[in-house]
Amino acid sequence: MQRIRTYRRLSLALALALVVGLVTATFAQTTLRIAEHPGPHVGPMEDYFIPLYEELTGVNIVMEVLPPDQLWQRMQLEAAADSDYYDIGYHSPGWFGYYHEKVAGLDDLIEEHGFGIDQYSQAVVESHMINPALRPGEIIAIARNPQTPIYAYRLDWFEHQGEREAFQAEYGRELAPPQTWEELYDIAVFFTRPAGETVADETLTAPLFGYSASIIPPGGMARAFLAIVYSLGLEGWDEDFQTDLDDPILLEGVDYWTRLIEDTFPPQAQSWNFLEHLSFMRESRLATAELWPEGVLTIEEEGAPTAGRIGYALLPQWPGNRQDLPVGRSFIGGGGMLIFDTPNRDEAFQFVQWLLEDQATEFNLRTAMFARADQFEDPEVLGAYDFYDSFLPVFEEQMSYGFPRQPIAEWGAVMYTPVGEFASDVLFDVMTPEQAQQRLVDNMERIFVESGYVD
C-alpha cells in the first residue's frame, strides 16, 4: 500500500514536472514571424533555410507570404496598431513610408554582430538600406534582391531562320532585341499568333502572345507601366516637388502602353500578380516578356522547357525622352528584409544575418538573387548556371540605369497607386487620357500641399 502511494506520488511529480517543462519550453522558445513577398526565395526558405535555422537554434519561425499589395497594407496596419505581430518584414523602399516609425534601426546590431555592410555597393545601400528623409543617419534594412526589369526573349525563335526571314520581309529589318519601345511593339505583334499557326516550324496548340508583364491593377499595372514612365525620362517630381507628370509625353506613353497590351498581351495578364506571366513564358506561350530578375529561375531552372532558350537585353530606348536616356529604364525595385521594433529585435536580426550573410552563397544558389559583392564574385555562384553568362551582364548594366525612388512617405500615394490607376483607367476607357492625367497630377499636387512640401 505504501509502495503504491509512493509510485502515485512519483508519477504525479513526474507528470507535473513534464507539464511545467513543456509550458516553460513553449513560452521560452522564441517565435519569429516574417511578412514575406512572393518570389523564388519562398520555396527555399520554407523547405531549407527556416527548418535548418530552427534545428540549429531552437528558434521557431513562422513565415506568412502575402500578395504584394496585401503585404504592405498588412504591415502598415500591424505597425499602426503597434501589435508586435511581425518581427521581420519584406522591405520595398517604395512602401517604407507606411510603417517607417515601427522599423528598428540596425546600426547597433550591425556593429554588435559584425555584419559585413561593406559587401553592398553604395548604390544598393542608398536605394535599399537607408532612407535619409524618413530615418536620417540610420540603416533600416538589409538588401536581398535589388533589381530592375530587363527584356527577356525566346532566343531560339529569334535565331530561327524562317522567323528571321519572315520578320525581315514584314518589317524590313533584322529580328533582334529591340532598340526602341516601338521596335518592341513590332516584335510583340509579329509573334502574336492564334492556335493552329506555327512558330519556329512548330504548330501552336494554343494562342501565342508577343509580350507580357503581370498587370493586375493597381499594383501590377503600376509596376509594369512605371517602366514606360521612367523610360519617357519622367521622374514624378523634382527637388522642388514640382511634378513632371503633366508633360504631354506621358500621353504618348500611355497610348503606346494601351496598344501594346491590347495587341500583344494575353488577356489573363490583367489578373496576374507579380511574375505570374513568366509561368506563361515557361509554357512557350509567350515570345518576349518584362523580366524582374528574381523571376529568372521560373524560365531557366533545370527541366523548364525554356531553360537555355532565353536571351536577355536592356529595356529599349524611348526616342525623344526627356532626359536623353540611351536605354529604357524603370525604378530600382526588389527589396530586402527589415526588422520591426519588437522584443525579438535581436533574434530577428541574427536570423537575417545568418540567412543573408552566413548563407549568402547557398541562398544565391537556391534563389538566383543577387545583392552582395561576394555573390557577384564567387566562382561557385557564377558557375551555378550557364545562363548567367548572358544574364548577369545585362542585369548589372540595367541596374546602372535604374531609378532610385524618392524616399518620401507619400511615394505610394502619389506615384505607385495613382500611376497604376492612371494606366488602368485609360486602358479601360474609364476616362480620357487627358482626364486621367489631370487626376494624377491633381492628386500629387494636393498631397504635396497637404504634406507641407509646397505651399
Binding site: Y98, A206, I216, P218, Q270, D425, F428, D429, V430, M431
Partner: protein
C-alpha cells in the same frame, strides 16, 4: 402597478439598446467624424479638420459616379436573380410529391453550401474554377456545345454579369430557406380548393401562394438588397474591381481610397454616404410595407 407595467419593457430593452448603441453608434459617429477630416494612412497622428470638403470632392469625382452606377447594376442584378431563383427553387421543392423526400433534403443540404461558405472562398472558386477562360467550368460547358466562351472576368462586357451571377449564387440559399418555410405555411386546403376549381400549378402559385408570401418576398428583397449593396469580399476575390473599374462597386472604392490611396478621410466619407443610401432604402421599404398592410 401601472407605472411598474410601463417600466418593465424599458428595463428589458435598455441593455440591448445600450449594447447596440455602443456597437453600432460609436463606429458610425467615428466614421462620420473621420470623414470630416483629412487623414492619411501614413500620417495617422496628423488629423486635420476639413469640414465637408471630402463630401464635396466625392460628389464631383467621376469615379464615384461610376462606382454608384456599378453598385446599382450589381445590387439590382444580385437581388432580382437571387429572389427569382430562390422563389423558383423553393416553389419546386415545396411541391407535393417532392416536399419532404430524401432527394429534396439532400438537394437542400447541397444548396446551402454557398450560404455557409466564406465569401472570399466563393470569390476564389469563381475566379479559378468557374469563370477561368481556359479551364473554367462555364467555358468547358460552352465548349461541349461548340461555343467559344469569353474571358469572363477579364472582358469589360462580361465581368459584371459573371460577378452578379457568382454573388447571386451565394445569396440564393437564404432566399430558398425563407421562401420554403413561408410556402410551408400556405394551407393545403387553399391549394386543394384551387385545384378543384381547375387551377394549374403555375396559376395556383401566382394567384394563391405568391400573394400569401409577399411579406416574405419583401423581407428577402430587403435583406438581399442591403447585402449586395455592401458586398466586398466576393467581388474583391473575384475581380478586385476590374477589369479597369468595371466591377468597382462602392465598397471596393472605400477600400481603394482608404488603403491603396491611403486616404482615410475620403474612405469614411464614401462609407458614410453608403450608410445613408442603405438607410434610405430600408426606410423606403418599411414605408411601402406599412402602406401595403394598411391597404389590407
Amino acid at each position: 402597478m401601472s407605472s411598474r407595467r410601463n417600466f418593465n419593457p424599458w428595463a428589458f430593452i435598455l441593455p440591448g439598446a445600450i449594447a447596440g448603441g455602443v456597437v453600432l453608434g460609436v463606429p458610425v459617429v467615428q466614421a462620420f467624424w473621420t470623414s470630416l477630416h483629412r487623414l492619411r494612412l501614413y500620417r495617422l497622428h496628423d488629423q486635420v479638420y476639413v469640414g465637408l470638403d471630402n463630401y464635396s470632392r466625392l460628389l464631383q469625382d467621376p469615379l464615384f459616379h461610376l462606382s454608384i452606377r456599378s453598385t446599382v447594376v450589381f445590387t439590382a442584378g444580385c437581388t432580382v436573380l437571387s429572389v427569382l431563383a430562390g422563389l423558383m427553387v423553393a416553389a419546386i421543392m415545396s411541391t407535393r410529391g417532392i416536399r419532404g423526400t430524401a432527394w429534396a433534403r439532400l438537394f437542400m443540404a447541397f444548396y446551402l453550401v454557398p450560404f455557409v461558405a466564406t465569401q472570399v472562398v466563393v470569390g476564389m472558386l469563381g475566379r479559378l474554377y468557374v469563370w477561368e477562360p481556359e479551364y473554367g467550368l462555364v467555358n468547358f460547358v460552352l465548349g461541349l456545345i461548340a461555343v467559344d466562351g469569353p474571358a469572363w472576368l477579364i472582358s469589360r462586357d462580361t465581368a459584371m454579369l459573371a460577378t452578379v451571377i457568382t454573388n447571386a449564387w451565394r445569396l440564393t440559399p437564404l432566399a430558398i430557406l425563407i421562401f420554403y418555410a413561408a410556402l410551408a405555411t400556405v394551407p393545403d386546403e387553399l391549394i386543394e380548393s384551387a385545384e378543384v376549381d381547375g387551377a394549374g400549378g403555375l396559376r395556383t402559385f401566382m394567384a394563391i401562394k405568391l400573394p400569401l408570401i409577399r411579406y416574405h418576398i419583401g423581407f428577402v428583397t430587403l435583406i438581399q438588397l442591403t447585402s449586395a449593396f455592401r458586398e466586398f469580399d466576393t467581388v474583391f476575390a473575384l475581380t478586385g474591381g476590374g477589369p479597369g473599374r468595371a466591377t468597382n462597386v462602392l465598397s471596393l472604392l472605400v477600400y481603394n481610397e482608404g488603403i491603396s490611396s491611403a486616404n482615410l478621410g475620403m474612405a469614411n466619407a464614401i462609407a458614410f454616404t453608403m450608410l445613408i443610401i442603405v438607410g434610405f432604402l430600408s426606410l423606403l421599404y418599411m414605408r411601402l410595407a406599412r402602406l401595403d398592410k394598411v391597404g389590407d
